[in-house]
Point group: C3
Chain length 133, copies 3
């Protein structure tokens, strides 16, 4: 089962897509397997992190901006190389395990679409693969 | 096949879980497929790196702490935002290929559970998916 | 379906392997599923990033070298700990979704083998898993 989702983003942000990924797994009716959540953009990513204190999201964005700041030496004409760097750091996709029809997330884990160069209209896919054993 | 493992960690560390993941694949009796190793915590991760010189583990932890140091500007009340950052950098999971009943690791590759905010009792899952073609 | 590829690298570089991964999917004749692209080295990785402006590749390498520089404190005898750090940051593998026989890449996304410690002879695997639902 494959589902496509879209979202509208602000300049930068971590967008909680946990409920969308759970919804896709539920619709698939697959009880045991894995699910791949894939972002199709090069200045955005998917990550897993804390779902409780919203301050963590801002701290992650700040920490990434400090680790991967804009640099005068960057040559890319669009001027968003630091967004490309953050995208490769957090990764374009995340893979999860499905057990008994639910994603095996930790208690404090949420799934986030990471916008590093918005505002933009963005898309991601959720693919569910059944375990046939 | 799904297996759960737990481990007790120190403050920070890379814990070699390669033998656990191999064990799960062996128990599954699946000869061709993939295996997903998934960590359920938001201040820990799973990575693949050198299995030979133990100094690499310390260097990785040091390099991550330099790239993602604690910052006065961080707002998260628990004070462990740098651990959350490292978790999103190395990733919550890793996916491997199974061929002829063995994980296709490189000669120098080991699989590591990364503790960024211990000591804690931690858990991770190993899910094996068979290739039916 | 499992395919092995090799490439010869320079000192540092992002090598476009998109066509190889597409070729493996085509050969597999699998129309719906996922594909795992796995690098077997500890000072190299696989990432997804811009396929259009070549300057992005250089900017990513520069940004990673700034975030993870060589350090006097590093103890690893081979002196390439920063390459190990970059490898754990971008990740050893990437997973993609296959729909209608094609990889669901974004318009601007390419798949790159990342060399952080060349020149070397390198290898990576492409494993295609069919969705049987």
């Amino acid at each position: 089962m494959l589902k496509e989702y879209s979202l509208k983003t602000d300049k930068e942000g971590l967008y909680d897509i946990t409920s969308k990924v759970f919804e896709a797994v539920k619709e698939s009716d697959i009880k045991q397997g894995i699910v791949v959540c894939y972002n199709v953009h090069t200045t955005a990513g998917i990550t897993v992190n804390e779902n409780c204190d919203d301050d963590v999201k801002g701290d992650i964005l700040l920490g990434l901006s400090k680790a991967f700041p804009d640099r005068l030496e960057f040559k890319h004409g669009e001027g968003n190389s630091c967004a490309h760097l953050k995208a490769s750091c957090v990764g374009a996709s995340q893979t999860f395990i499905i057990a008994n029809g639910k994603i095996l997330l930790g208690t404090w884990q949420g799934i986030y679409f990471c916008e590093f160069d918005g505002p933009r209209q963005r898309r991601f896919y959720v693919k569910v693969i059944a375990d046939k054993n």
